[in-house]
């Protein structure tokens, strides 16, 4: 999981590779303090940074959809009037958001 800014870094990679491990990093220098888990190599960390970033980027469509959907109140109102009038306003609105933000 990537923190805050949407940019994967070494901290994210170490947490992903060795959950609950003990370590400290000053700048780019990693001090491994865990006695049970082995320290990941630089290559493993770099590869994990790339993997995490790709995983995060691949879900951009879902984050875009989440902000583009009408509010729950608006959707409930659409569904009420659709049931009264026999229209498809709600289904159309949701479909439009999905179309505008396609899943890769």
């Amino acid at each position: 999981m990537i923190n805050l800014d949407g940019v994967a870094d070494k901290v994210d990679a170490i947490v992903s590779l060795r959950p609950d491990s003990q370590w400290a990093m000053r700048g780019d220098v990693l001090e491994w303090l865990d006695t049970e888990q082995i320290q990941p190599t630089d290559a493993e960390i770099d590869a994990e940074v790339i993997r995490l970033q790709a995983e995060y980027d691949a879900k951009q469509y879902a984050r875009d959809r989440a902000t583009a959907y009408p509010s729950i109140q608006e959707q409930l109102d659409m569904q009420y009037w659709d049931s009264v009038n026999g229209t498809t306003t709600w289904k159309d609105a949701i479909a439009a958001v999905k179309t505008e933000n396609p899943k890769p």
Partner: protein, 162 residues
């Protein structure tokens, strides 16, 4: 023209200097950003040094920084010469709850008054630990840079005469 230099001017009770600031040192070094997942107080690399003019002086250490905790509490403390935690609480340090289940940069500050009882150079170090998750100190506003500039972490030591 002549110059008169003396170590101090005191009243008859000898207390004239009491409470006066003798000197202030400020860490202006661009240091590496600190990140960790560690359950014991660990040296962050942020430090400031001062050479007291008088052995009986008090030293006030001030620290402020942007701190990020990914999951749970962060504890921080100020150590003297890397060995003595000044809070006297090795579990919780000077600060307890920096962040609790949040993922936002928070401004953390702490200070303590120390009595090093020496005229030799004293170095004060910032130590930190987490209870779970990770902690990052410094770095807000500097993007992916691994170097922290003094505007992100400020650390100073003030000598106060007694």
């Amino acid at each position: 023209m002549s110059t008169l230099r003396v170590d101090s001017i005191q009243d008859t009770a000898g207390t004239d200097n009491q409470g006066k600031i003798i000197q202030v040192t400020y860490d202006s070094t661009a240091r590496p950003k600190f990140s960790a997942a560690v359950s014991t107080l660990t040296d962050t690399g942020f430090e400031v040094s001062i050479t007291p003019k008088f052995a009986n002086s008090k030293i006030k250490i001030d620290f402020a920084a942007s701190v990020l905790s990914s999951a749970h509490y962060v504890a921080m403390d100020i150590y003297r010469n890397g060995t003595t935690g000044l809070s006297g609480d090795s579990a919780n340090g000077l600060t307890g709850s920096v962040a609790y289940y949040t993922a936002f940069w928070q401004n953390v500050s702490m200070f303590i008054i120390d009595s090093p009882n020496t005229t030799s150079t004293v170095t004060y170090n910032i130590f930190a630990k987490t209870y779970s998750g990770t902690v990052t100190i410094g770095g807000a506003g500097v993007g992916a840079s691994s170097t922290v500039y003094p505007n992100c972490v400020s650390l100073s030591a003030t000598e106060i005469a007694q």
